[in-house]
Each structure stands twice: as C-alpha cells, then as structure tokens.
C-alpha cells in the first residue's frame, strides 16, 4: 500500500496489445507509443536540473498531505496555486471554471467512534503511476513525464475530454473560454484540458510546488518517493497513509495521512 515503487505494468501492456491488435486489423504495422529517454542516474536531490538535462526517471515526485493539519476555512494552497498558475474563475456558470486544486470537506458517515468526524483536505491531480487519463487519450497528449508528473501536452490536445471521463478524482478541467492572463511559464488555453502540473516549472528550478510552500500548517510534504532517505518516503514508511481510490490500484503519487 505504501510502497512507492511503480507496480507491474500488466494492465497498460494488455490494453496496448489489444490496441495494436485493432490497429493491425486495418493496417500492417504498429509500434508502441513514445517512450521517454531513460537516463540511468543516481538519486536526484531537489536541486535545479542542469540545462539540457531531461527529467530523471529514477525520481518519482510525490506529495504527502496530512489531513489532520489541514485547517478548516483555510484556502491558502488554493490561492497560491491559482496565482502561480494564473487560474482565473470568472465564468457565469461556476461549474465551467477550472480548478486545479480544491478543498474537500469530508464528514464520516461510517458507523463507529469516528462517526460525524469532519476532515479537510486539498484534492488535485494525484499523479498516478498508472494514470487512466494517459491510457485513454487518443493523441497521447495526456502524458507522464519520466519523473512521474502527469501533464497535458496542449500542443496535441484536441479537447475531446475523454480523460475527464476517465479520471476518478475529477482532477481535470476543460478550459471553456478564451484566456489572456496566463503566467508566461504556465501556458493554458481555450479548448484544451488541464490539471495540476505539480508546478513542474518550479520543480525544474529546484523549488517546491506553490501549494506546499504556501501551507501555513506545514500539512504538505513534497519530495522523491523513490528516495528512501527523503522526508516524504521516510514519513510514508513510518505512518499509515492512504491512497484515494486505492481499490483502482492506480498508485497515485499524492498520499494522505490522517484519513
């Protein structure tokens, strides 16, 4: 449950083989999709990556969120995220606005001592190791970077929204109207799907995601799940943590504590 390694890829391989089969019926040849370059390298410290160096496949970036520390009514992480990424919410129908991160309030309804207990937590893209959004994307625009960050390549996103149908976390938003207030480092635009990038532009500079940095309670820990010496891996090894929708075995990179 708490193992940070990527589990078997059987499901993905099966679907790929089935897809190749379908393709093979109509066409002669098919090859697997793009594979990211594997650069064997030792542990990456959270230092800025050198120019010209690709994302390190030995690293898997992740978040550990302590729901016990998350304060009711506090929206600092959301504000920080939306400022950093230029996410605006000005459409008349609020259901059409993008939300990269949101605060969820949970009331325990299970019988027992904890019944009625209220929990807060921020919810965002869970950066799965086996992301359904990547599996279903017809063009391969939905992708997982070598270091485990799930992104949308807006250059090839056609806006079909199949990934939104496939995501069990409601993590993705569709940009419903033209934009002009983007952060130069965070391009986003009408007609494409988007979600939390784990502040990939900050991580690559050696900074932490904006939400993590902004949390006054220190409820969020960011780090390399694959590095046994990192604070996040140590914490996951020592306290019980939860993966949301663990039954789906997507192996999310975002884990919760205190649920």
């Amino acid at each position: 449950m708490t193992s940070p390694q990527t589990p078997d890829n059987a499901r993905r391989k099966f679907i790929a083989a089935a897809g190749a089969g379908v393709a093979g019926l109509g066409f002669t040849a098919i090859a697997p999709g793009l594979h990211l370059m594997a650069v064997g390298e030792a542990n990456a410290a959270p230092t800025p990556r050198k120019a010209g160096e690709p994302a390190n496949p030995a690293v898997r970036w992740g978040l550990l969120i302590d729901a016990n520390k998350c304060a009711p009514g506090c929206t600092k992480c959301i504000d920080a995220c939306h400022t950093e990424n230029g996410v605006s919410a000005n459409l008349p129908d609020p259901r059409q606005n993008s939300q990269w991160i949101r605060k969820i309030e949970l009331v325990d309804r299970r019988p027992g001592k904890t019944r009625g207990h209220v929990t807060q937590l921020p919810m965002m893209c869970q950066h799965c190791a086996e992301p359904p959004c990547v599996d279903v994307c017809p063009t391969g625009a939905s992708m997982k970077r070598a270091d485990g960050i799930v992104l949308v390549d807006r250059h090839t996103c056609i806006g079909c929204r199949y990934c939104m149908m496939a995501c069990p976390y409601k993590a993705r938003s569709f940009v419903h109207a033209p934009l002009n207030d983007q952060n130069p480092e965070v391009p986003r635009g009408k007609g494409c799907v988007e979600s939390c990038t784990l502040c990939v532009h900050r991580i690559d500079k050696g900074q932490q995601p904006a939400c993590v940095e902004s949390c006054p309670e220190g409820a969020m820990t960011f780090g390399d799940l694959n590095d046994a010496d990192s604070a996040i891996a140590k914490r996951i090894a020592s306290v019980p943590t939860t993966q949301v929708r663990a039954d789906l075995r997507l192996n999310p990179g975002v884990r919760y504590e205190g649920l």
Partner: protein, 399 residues
Amino acid sequence: MFTPKPRQEENLFYLLAAIGGLVSAIGLAAALYMEHEGHVVTGMNNQIVWGLPHVVAIFLIVAASGVLNVASMGSVFGRVLYKSRAPLSGLLGIAMLSGGLAIIMLDLGRADRIIVAMTHFNPTSVFGWNVILYPVFYAFVGIYLWTMMERRMNPYSKVAGLATFIWRIILTTGTGSIFAFLVARQAYGSALLAPMFIIMSFSWGLAVFIVVQATMYAWNGMQLPPLILQRMKNLLATLVAAVLYFTAVLHLVSAYFAKQTAFEYFILVDSEFSGMFWIGQVLIGSLLPLTLLFHPATRAKVAWINLAAALVIVGAFFQLYVFIIGGQAFPLEMFPGYDIKSSFFDGTVDHYSARLPEILLALGGVAIAFTMTTIGVRALHFLPQDDIAELEAAIRITD
C-alpha cells in the same frame, strides 16, 4: 399514405434537400460559434463533459453500424429478402456515420486540430482505436456498395459483405468499449457494454431502416409486400426484447454490487433520469413497440409497425441520454463512507440542460445524415426491387 405526383415530387425533393442542407449549415455555424467562444456557450461543464451532441452522435454511429445488418443478412446469411435491401442499408450506414462523426469532431475543444488525431496515435486509447475503425468502415462499405451496384463486381459482394459485417461488429465493440474501459464512473466500466452496444445497434439500425424504407415506398406510391414487413417486424421485436434483456441484466448485476447501489437507486428511482428510464426507455422504447408488434389488432398493419419502429428510435435517445448524461450527473465516489463537499461540486448531483449551440450542432449532424440519404436515394437506385415469387420460394425453403 401521401404519394406526390411527379411534378410535385421533384419540387418536394428539392425542398427536402434544401431543408436538410440548411439545417446542416446551421449546425456547422453553431459549431463555429462554439469553437470561437469556447464551450462556455454550451450547457456542458467540468462534471458533465459530454452532453447532447454526444448522445445524438453515439446514436447515429451505433445505428449506422446496425443498419448495415440488413445488408449482412442478405449477403452473409443469404436471405433473399434482405439482399435487395443491401444497397439502401449501405447508404444509410455511410450517411449516419458521417452525421455522427461530424458532431463528435465539431464538438472537440480544438476541432481545428483534428489532423492531430490522425498523426498522433495512442494504442491504449479506445478513442484512438476508433480513429482507425471509422475510416476503414467507410472503405469497406464503399467497396461493398460497389460490388453490389456494379454488375461485373457482383461475384465479390459476398466476400465484401462478410468483411463489412465483421468490421462493423468490431466497430460497435469499439463504441461500447469507449465506456467499458472507464474505471472512474459507476455507470460505465462493464464488459457487458460492448455486446450490449452491438445488440442496441441491431435494434436501432433496423428501426431506422424500417422507417426510411416506409418513407421511400410511400414516396413512390408503392406498398411494401406484407410478407416482407412481417419478417422485418418479427426481427425487430426480437431485437427490442434483447436490448431490454441486456438492460435488465446490466442494472440487476449493478444493483447487487454494494458500491453501485447508490448509483442504481439514483438512476432507477430518485432522479430526473428515472422517469426517462422507465417512461422513455422501457415504456415508449421497448414495451409499447413490442405490444404494437405482437397485438392482433396492430401487428399486421403497416402504419402501426412503422410507428413501433419510430418509437424504438425515440426510446434509443432516452436510453443514451440516461446512460451518458445520467452516468455523469452522479457524483464520483472518491471517499466511500464519507459525505463529501467542495467548491468543485464534489458529492453533488449535477444537472445538465442543453443550450442552443449544442442543440443546433446535434440537429446539424442528423441533418447531414438526412441530406446524404435523401440525395443518395434520389440519385441512385436504392429502392428495393423484390421478386415476390423468388422470395416466397426462398422463404418456404428456409422455413
């Protein structure tokens, strides 16, 4: 029934073609407007990401492959009755698929990038498979039509028919699998969906065929031989019952799974969709047509059988609406055992109401299918020519 005179007939044809073309053009304009303003002008949102355009498009695509079954019955299974109907069924297949695909493609957030869907292929995506399935379907049906309509190619029509039949089964499996491969939402993610979509396509395709055939016969002042109608009606009844059976199994199994009971309660009992399910899908789309097809007072009358086929089509729209919109309106269950709420409407049932641009786009797709059929039927020989003596002989043998 109304039969136009030759002079009137010509004018009426141009009028119908013009109306079809106009509605198609309005649909296209609506798509351009959506493309320019963004999907903010539609009723779709981040919870209900696929709306009315998808309901109509999926109906057209599913029925397009189903309507081809009339041809397959003739070419593959050697039924004389259906053989003379094969060209019309091929035309309808191409026309409806075109309408459906036009809607899907024009609804994309970046419809201008449709080329990307062809240059970038992801083998794990069922949508990606469909990008291959559809063009090949066109090619197969095109070749099949050619082998049927060009006398010298006739000997090959059986092979072409078989290939088309196999491909259409794969194609509908692909359409059903779009939903079957979704793990996130309770309404989908069932292996049953692929075969169920095939049965649905048989039923809806045949219903569309019966309605179009009836219109064509009336247009030409002809009477469909009762023998033929009788056969088609029996087949339609069997298929409608089969769809109802699949629906029952799907919901029964789902209702048994503890994690699905809340969703089943929502769809079947307590939501705007339960009325559509029971009245639209079950009553209007299944029970009423079955009664009309079997009741002694109605089962032998052309008008009633055509009405039954029309009701099956109406029921199909209800079924897809409940399946697609209802399936998305129910909130994602991320934390079982907890009440959940957020600024992103987690834990809340969503309500979808289609707005004008998407309604026009959906109608435009139907109009494309209609216009292609109208022009095709008029320009080429698609009216079934039956040799009644041969037919009766064939039926005596097969029975």
